[in-house]
Symmetry: C2
């Protein structure tokens, strides 16, 4: 995590790779020097044979470097003849790109499975969880090989470790199953030895542990398809709607940390039970979980005091958390299932944003794109495969229901869309019931439409004058309000809250554009993400200045990219490496220390002309 | 673990190293090719500077290769000038010996501490547990380095990992201690961050988890000295005196495994409390434990079914057990303390014997020595730094009290020594009380003295004729007995039991001598080990043929070498590597499959002439 100085050079440490595939397709990409050809291929949907998962042992990931220099790895001479080596053949998983290269990829021996995930990403299935059916030879006086060593010897193409508690049942399992067993591997760890052939059944569970909503995605790792998806409100809700109120709860009561932790665990456990029941999957068949969330949610769920996150200088506990287990999140899935976590760029550009960057492929695409996760804390990433910058904008509580007079969560009765046509105010209401309040997207729509109708001036003040809708204005106490429906109104203060929020976000992307040395109009695409951003109307977002003024088709809803990132990580170890690489590829820009922040912020308070 | 074919070549893959020390001392040793100069020096008491523990980062372990070839390691060019490299300077921890070398060792910059341990071994203190006092800079808006990364950055000469649960208290500790903390490292794992400066206090606990007796040795890692030593009977005793009866208990009752595990944990926990109280040490100041025992004791303590150990083909669960924690043994020491275990050569040449080989330095010494751990299962190792062979001899229950008519454990009232002078039978009795039974060493003495006095013939039959002691013979039931004391006698069957035991052991070392192609008289030293073997009279052991016929000073008691091996492992990571190397250095010879076993066994039944 470094605060960048303005630079003009675009990642001079990147190299250009051209993959020529057997079907004639050519893919070009720029990757950090030192990336293996295997990883670079995988990140770009170029499938290369492999069965060992990139450990240099299966010797299947053969590619030919047709142009450019590629030194031999220690493994190459064992995989190729001298003539082949001379012709440029290398094992892709051991070949680190240090120069521009043209790489020929032979046709696949086995058809790789792939899944569509994230924002149109084509993810080649390479789950960490692998199963192997083994028929072992029984020990004899001539062959007293110990049990664990015998299992390892049957998989000598991978170098495996085993956790100690695996051994308590191992001897019994081998002997009662007549030495016919299925080894369950998670990366290079042997997490179980099951009797008989269970290779057809393996599942992972990807969680998006949101502040408001928690989503569980049960994935069949054989097909890459979701077996069941469920969501529910985070059971931490009674402690506060946003991260700051939950951190405050911990600061006021030392017991609260344990309680909040337990509530998170209960939420995850309940969802686990639901998806298992829906899909007919035993919890013990879930061999890995992925948990994505903002840093506060992750620290709370792990029982790590979040207080330092909430006050200057906003420090997180670790950029990359140590290896976790599913049981650390209170999950009763396979007892030795690991929990995969994403790294964080900072206190407010957390694991959820790194997952979002992975899901959008922001750092893999040559187009310059702007990613905004809109919320109380809004995260903003601007970049392409050449360079990327991230920042966090404290948008304030406009998008949370609590601070808006008639605000409510996006549930039944919430006004989520507003359109003003002449003297008509058309409302879109969730659940097709009488409106009882207004949610975030409705707020943005209402303000945008009032600006469009000339009922709000650029400075954000109601224009109370005449016209067909003048009668909808009124006063609640001392405050001017605009009535959307009987008992549902927009107040002057609500407008101010939204102005502050959108100004903060706009200042964020303006500063990132400055760092890049570009105009906002040069941005190829804006991705609106998160449970709130995904529902915003592109037109309204442009009209209030929340996003740069671009043609509307270039402003797209990216959906729950954090959850998609979690899915992608469950489906592919190569993608996990890509997520870790995001730490090096994306530079963090801290807004609060900047001299130009206040001026820009004031400029952005007004609505665009 | 391989069953060796007879070979004549003596470890052609060893290289000869000559260390020339600054004080003029020269040490010569032969080590396996590939051993680092640092390890080879340490194993031979040649102290070489180092602060990073052999990770190639402190660049202090500078030596000069004065003769012989030593390629550069990747680290060398960063540690030395081109002239120095040309002159042969290398970092010892990265220099793998592949040829005969002469190595100059500069004087130490810091005086290393060393401890005497094992059988006269000089162990240079290099505990895995290290402490570092850190004064960290507080985070600021300009430096938002996360807490864990900040701690790691303060120790950038080592590449550290941290367990997840360390993080729950980390933020609080750093902030309440004003960023002045002590990092506790165990190898490359950061196991704790303690407030303030606690560098003066670090302890480890070495256990010998014997079938009969359990010994705990609390070690002060600052000095290498024992802070307290306690022993007690293994609380598994009610389930049987030897490993076979305990395994039988598990086979008959599935609940017994859990109970036996718990009893082992209770024994270890009680000893821990005792040594802590005696030494005034908090359990949380014990950062590592070492547990040594035979494979049955280790598997039982870890809850791993021991049944396969007890029946052909006698398989252990793993040659090298996965990383264990102190809590796996039920120990409430530091919550993240690791438990260090020794590898096993086979079901009956277990971790205790590998520890014994380490403690005796058998594979480090140029003399050819014979190590015998005498017991129901007797382990035998014959070797030197050139080559070593191990076997297990099923000696039967002669050395356990239960199978001897007047047998008892070596406690108060046990006859432990017998001498016949003319018509006098002199008894040495434990506790200086009336004799009530006879223990193992007394049995060996009694038989040896009766053979010497001509009262037992070579075939093991009582010579009932006349003479001054004839009146001591009598009959109990149908059986001839020799009365040692009122109510304490030696029966003809007792003699037979001992004959079987000693024949089994003698067959073991005879076969190892054959494999070596040597005569038993060429053995330089016999080490009698274990709680039983250490108390045997050398003269009696020779007279009954339990050990080869050598001059008595060459037959020595080695003491509790398993416990000493545990201590050595706690004091030095280099020695742990040496213990692991024992697996490669010692070849296992299985007796039960051999065609020559029965003939040799029958030959050895008779007492020597």
């Amino acid at each position: 995590m470094t605060v960048v100085e303005p630079v003009t050079e675009l990642h001079p440490d990147r190299v250009r790779l051209t993959f020529e595939q057997a079907d004639g397709q050519v893919k070009e990409t720029r990757v950090p020097a030192g990336t293996t050809l295997f990883d670079a291929g995988s990140w770009n949907g170029v499938a290369i044979d492999s069965t060992c998962g990139g450990h240099g042992t299966c010797k299947k990931c053969k590619v030919r470097v047709a142009s450019g220099s590629m030194p031999l790895s220690p493994v190459d001479p064992r995989a190729f003849s001298p003539e082949e080596l001379k012709a440029g053949w290398r094992l892709a998983c051991r070949a680190e790109a240090r120069a521009d290269l043209v790489v020929e990829v032979p046709p696949l021996q086995t058809r790789p499975k792939a899944a569509l995930a994230g924002v149109g990403r084509h993810v080649i299935l390479r789950p960490a969880v692998q199963k192997r059916y083994l028929e072992l030879t029984e020990p004899t006086m001539e062959d007293q090989t110990p049990d664990l060593d015998r299992v390892f010897a049957a998989m000598d193409d991978v170098e495996l470790q085993a956790p100690l508690d695996l051994l308590t049942d191992l001897g019994g399992t081998l002997r009662t199953s007549d030495w016919k067993v299925t080894a369950v591997l998670c990366d290079d760890v042997l997490i179980d030895v099951e009797p008989g052939d269970t290779t057809a059944r393996r599942f992972a569970l990807a969680f998006d542990l949101g502040t408001t909503t928690v989503v569980a995605n049960l994935l069949d790792l054989e097909t890459g398809l979701p077996a069941a998806v469920r969501s529910m409100l985070n059971k931490q809700q009674p402690f506060g709607a946003d991260v700051i109120t939950r951190i405050s709860a911990v600061m006021m009561d030392p017991e609260a940390l344990g309680t909040l932790r337990l509530r998170a665990h209960e939420t995850l456990a309940e969802l686990t039970a639901e998806v298992c029941e829906e899909a007919g999957v035993e919890p013990g068949e879930i061999y890995e979980v992925v948990v994505v969330g903002n840093m506060t949610m992750i620290q709370l769920a792990l029982g790590i005091d979040p207080e330092p996150l909430s006050m200057a200088p906003f420090t997180i506990v670790a950029q990359t958390l140590p290896q976790a287990k599913a049981s650390d999140f209170g999950l009763a899935v396979h007892p030795r299932a690991p929990a995969v976590l994403f790294p964080a760029l900072g206190a407010y550009v957390g694991p959820d944003i790194v997952a979002g960057v992975l899901a959008t492929g922001l750092t893999l695409d040559r187009r310059l794109r702007l990613f905004i996760d809109v919320g109380t804390n809004s995260e903003i990433v601007l970049g392409s495969s050449s360079r990327a910058l991230a920042t966090a904008a404290p948008a304030g509580p406009a998008f949370e229901a609590a601070q808006i007079r008639c605000g409510m969560r996006a549930g039944d009765g919430a006004i989520e869309g507003v359109r003003i046509r002449g003297d008509e105010v058309e409302l879109t209401v969730i659940g097709d019931v009488e409106p009882v309040g207004i949610c975030g997207s409705g707020l943005v729509d209402a303000v945008a439409e009032l600006v469009g109708a000339g009922l709000l001036d650029r400075s954000g003040k109601f224009v109370l004058g005449e016209g067909p809708l003048a009668e909808r204005f009124g006063k609640i106490g001392e405050e001017n309000v605009f009535h959307l429906y009987e008992g549902v109104f927009l107040s002057q203060r609500d407008v101010r809250e939204l102005q502050f929020a959108k100004a903060s976000i706009a200042t964020g992307w303006t500063i990132l554009c400055r760092e890049f040395g570009i105009e906002p109009t040069e941005i190829a695409q804006v991705l609106l993400a998160g449970s709130f951003g995904s529902y915003l109307s592109a037109a309204s977002a442009v009209r209030i200045g929340l996003v740069p003024k671009l043609a509307l088709p270039r402003i797209v809803s990216a959906g729950n990219v954090a959850g998609e990132g979690a899915k992608i990580a469950a489906l592919s170890v190569t993608e996990r490496h890509a997520a870790r690489a995001v730490l090096d590829e994306v530079d963090y820009v801290e807004l609060s220390g900047r001299a130009d922040f206040n001026d820009l912020f004031v400029d952005q308070l007004a609505f665009p002309g």
